[in-house]
């Protein structure tokens, strides 16, 4: 089956709601950092933009725009202790099993079987999308996030957009 053309669908969807066309970033090249040790020695962290939060804190705004909120998620959080608030995708499956979009249990298993070296004490949920103020993202929010990854001595970041 042919993949969905999200560019066309989003343009149509938001156009019908009166939004101006989104200015997509189109990059011709991409940076690349090679890891300098085996994966089995790497510290691997996790980030999703799927609007997931710990059930004890206020949920994300499901209709958020320009929301730069970024939550720390304790790596010991039970897979039952999440809430998902995001109107922009169907999270029925992820409500049932958080690993569909935020594979905390699977990542821990890869530590146990030695595929990866370790996980940090915290994972991440945020950058929910529909962020139009890209300058703030690039100059403030992302650098602050990078500082946190460095504090945790992260070698590899797994990211799941939703």
């Amino acid at each position: 089956m042919k993949p969905i053309s999200y560019v066309d669908e989003l343009t149509r969807h938001y156009g019908s709601m009166g939004f101006p066309p989104y200015k997509w970033t189109i990059n011709e090249t991409a940076p690349l950092t090679r890891i300098t040790k085996p994966l089995a020695e790497c510290c691997v962290s996790l980030l999703t933009s799927g609007g997931i939060s710990h059930c004890t804190v206020p949920g994300f705004d499901p209709d958020a725009r320009n929301d730069h909120r970024l939550d720390e998620i304790d790596q010991n959080t039970s897979n039952q202790d999440f809430a998902i608030n995001d109107s922009y995708y169907n999270h029925t499956d992820a409500d049932q099993d958080i690993n569909c979009v935020f594979p905390i249990d699977r990542l821990k298993e890869l530590v146990e079987d030695g595929t990866i070296g370790s996980i940090p004490n915290r994972f991440w949920s945020g950058f929910m999308g529909r962020i139009y103020n890209r300058t703030k993202l690039i100059e403030e929010s992302i650098p602050a996030f990078i500082d946190k990854l460095r504090e945790d001595a992260v070698d590899v970041l797994v990211t799941a957009p939703a």
Partner: protein, 93 residues
Amino acid sequence: MGLVCRSVEEAGIATTYIATGRDLTIQVKPPRSLFLNFPMGNNFGEPSNQGQQTAILRRALEMVEEVELGGTLEDWPESWPAPVTYFTGRKSE
């Protein structure tokens, strides 16, 4: 999220991006992407399908070791068991 990956990568930390929007991913070009023609939010597959979730996560991690060119996108070979359609959104009440 693609922009986040690019900046994190530029800062010297390797990233791997598990995507469900192929055209969006091609545009923003994260350093390494594994594309699954699955619904958004099912980046790692079906609920309770641990084997599938692990296989996807493993492949995304292997790409960190293998990919030699920034912007590489790999297609996951499995297809979703039902038609994948655009989710028009739910307004919260």
